[in-house]
């Protein structure tokens, strides 16, 4: 039933997308074949899909984890950026370290920075009651500025010196030094496919989150705090501590996403690598209904749509913005099983009424 509903939702979104394309004067068939070919039809397309999946999975998990504890983490964008910078900070120094030590250290630093950035709103909430929605939004802006500063090329105009991670050999460009080879995530398939082991980390994280939620005491407490704070207090759970810890791990997941992107794909940090991360996390968490498996599937779907967009535009001329509209439509249709149940309800109600009517006649 749930699968059928989801399938219907996807179909509905696609149909509306078709209508929209036709309205804009494009050929929907070309667009969709392009979309599918671009995301799954070729090795490159598949590679792009896979590459785009991991940040979706991780930020989605981050939002979902917080949501289970009754917290709304809009801060994945900032945590992602902090994770990126943390990973790069370690990744560009310590030349000569072996890979097995350097890479995990860099990843751990990325997670650590993300954790710290997530812990702040958690701690503020518990100690002062500051609403996490506000603090995470604000900390996103702060993280953008801070990480931008770390790689800033400097300017005499605002008399700002270059940031500590800035790559002085890159001219006026604001970007960090390249990550050393020993801290890069190895390829599964090298260029031109550029699939790296980050996807494995993301899937592992999904598994870990599932295990955390279903198999550990912390997960049990987290869910209790989220579902019924009073019951958690009654049961002697430390809900303040759980809140802080949950936000910490939520931040860590987003930080890991940042670390994976910098150590696996970009191999350096530049301010333009963080755009749009947070929102997709929220959408995917909602779409995956908070379940790690659902999140992985939702991430794959969204990654495929994103990966297919360039080819779609190339083949049919449909602007890639359409993809965002279609993604939104999918979100709406999946989120409104009520649309389906409402229809069913309508039908059963009329049946009921007619049954009553029939019995009255007898």
């Amino acid at each position: 039933m749930a699968a059928l509903q989801t399938a219907l939702a996807l179909l509905g979104a696609v149909l509306l997308g078709v209508v929209l394309m036709a309205v804009l004067g494009h050929n929907p068939w070309e667009a969709f074949t392009g979309l599918i070919a671009g995301s799954a039809g070729t090795a490159r397309g598949l590679a792009a899909t896979v590459r785009k999946t991991s940040p979706f999975v991780l930020t989605g998990l981050s939002v979902a984890l917080a949501m289970k504890a009754g917290l709304f983490n809009i801060g994945t964008a900032g945590q992602f950026l902090m994770g990126s910078v943390g990973a790069v900070w370690v990744g560009i120094q310590f030349e000569g370290l072996p890979v097995w030590f350097h890479l995990p250290l860099a990843v751990a630093m990325g997670i650590g920075f993300g954790c710290a950035w997530g812990a702040i709103p958690g701690w503020l909430k518990v100690s002062t009651g500051a609403h996490e929605v506000i603090t995470t939004i604000m900390l996103n802006h702060v993280a953008t500025l801070f990480t931008g500063w770390t790689v800033f090329a400097g300017s005499t105009l605002s008399t700002t010196r270059p940031g500590p991670l800035w790559d002085s050999t890159a001219g006026p460009v604001s970007a960090s030094t390249d990550v050393l080879a020993s801290a890069r995530i190895p390829w599964i398939f090298g260029p031109p496919l550029r699939i790296h082991w980050g996807i494995a980390l993301a899937l592992l994280a999904a598994l870990l989150v599932w295990w955390l939620m279903e198999r550990t005491r912390f997960g049990f407490e987290l869910k209790t705090v989220g579902a019924k704070p009073l019951a958690a207090r009654y049961a002697g759970m430390r809900s303040g501590w759980t809140t802080v810890l949950t936000m910490t791990w939520a931040g860590g997941l987003a930080g890991l996403a940042g670390a994976i992107e910098t150590l696996g794909v970009n191999h350096k940090f530049a301010p333009e690598f963080g755009g749009g991360v947070g929102f997709e996390g929220i959408t995917i968490a909602l779409l995956g209904q908070g379940h790690p498996l659902g999140i992985v599937l939702a991430s794959l779907l969204f990654a495929a749509l994103d990966a297919g967009a360039p080819k779609m535009q190339f083949d049919s001329g449909v602007p890639s913005d359409i993809i965002q509209v279609i993604q939104t439509l999918i979100l709406i249709f999946v989120a409104v099983p009520a649309l389906a149940t409402w229809l069913l309800d309508r039908m059963s109600r009329t049946q009921h009424v007619s049954a009553v009517a029939a019995s009255l006649r007898i």
Binding site: S155, A270, G275, P310, F314
Partner: protein, 302 residues
């Protein structure tokens, strides 16, 4: 990838119809009245010279997500395009990587400062500092209050910084005592060039602080700033504005009341020339191309 074809012989268009040019934009639209559009117009001009038709001979892809740069370039690479133009300095890395992987395809990186020199990659850079310098000189010359302002996009983008620094230096060159107020947009890259309200409010703040010439240097944020100046009662008589990137007399008509000039980069001409000339003169491309065309276009009346 298909091997690159030599340039079309105009007499025999049927023989080599497969010479194709592709363009990948930075985040934003092809008709953004800014750098993407300028570069695209260069492609259009070159296409006319070469007799190419849109769709068959040349195409563009608009980027919507920074993660897509490499994949968008890949679309053209997979389809055997001969020349690929990538617009915007943030595509630099993806372009270098693509040109290393595809030695047979020519790449033109607009606004891309290339440290390495590659035989099939031309980084088209401009002397924004020089254009900014001229704008600064003009501003200092116009100013009666001794205070001028620059409202700029993100300082993480080198051309923007170059414009700003040039502006300040040019102004001080003319009048060492002059006060130059310059602000960069505080937001992240996705909004720094798209926040005209901030630009307008900041320009107003500068005007209130006695600035009488405002240089708007940062996409729509800067446009917001000079539009605000244009609505000032003293626009064109006591307060003035200077545009950027394109001749904003045409691209942003709303600023005509105050506009005295625009600090331009001749991207269109640069792209055009590199496409047409490039494949014929391989050796020219072998050197790092620096198309230093910083100019100052003077506005029309007033």
């Amino acid at each position: 990838a298909l091997p690159a074809m030599p340039v079309v012989n105009m007499d025999e268009p049927a023989i080599a119809p497969s010479f194709r040019v592709g363009l990948v934009t930075d985040i934003g639209r092809i008709n953004d009245r800014s750098f993407n559009q300028s570069a695209w117009e260069g492609v259009l001009a070159a296409a006319e010279t070469l007799g190419l038709t849109e769709g068959e001979g040349f195409k563009f892809i608009e980027t919507t997500d920074p993660k897509d740069y490499a994949d968008n370039l890949g679309q053209f690479i997979n389809n055997g395009y001969d020349v690929i133009v990538s617009v915007g300095y943030v595509l630099g890395d993806a372009t270098i990587e693509a040109s290393l992987e595809n030695p047979d395809i020519h790449f033109i990186g607009v606004d891309q400062f290339q440290v390495q020199s590659l035989p099939n990659l031309a980084g088209l850079v401009f002397r924004e500092d020089q254009a900014g310098f001229l704008a600064g000189m003009l501003a200092a010359g116009l100013s009666r209050t001794g205070t001028i302002a620059a409202v700029l996009g993100a300082d993480l983008i080198p051309p923007v910084v170059a414009f700003g620094e040039g502006f300040a230096l040019g102004a001080r060159y003319v009048n060492p005592e002059i006060e130059v107020m310059a602000t960069y947009h505080p937001g992240d890259l996705s909004i720094a060039f798209n926040d005209p309200e901030w630009g307008a409010a900041t320009a107003r703040q500068a005007l209130d602080q006695k600035a009488d010439v405002v240089f708007g240097g940062g996409g729509n944020t800067g446009n917001g700033a000079i539009q605000e100046v244009a609505t000032d009662p003293g626009a064109g008589t006591s307060v003035f504005c200077i545009g950027v990137d394109t001749d904003q007399w045409y691209t942003v008509p709303a600023v005509r009341p105050c506009l005295v000039s625009s600090a331009m980069e001749l991207k269109t001409a640069g792209v055009d020339e590199l496409i047409v000339v490039g494949p014929e003169l391989q050796e020219l491309l072998a050197v790092k191309a620096a198309f230093d065309e910083g100019t100052l276009e003077t506005g029309y009346d007033q």
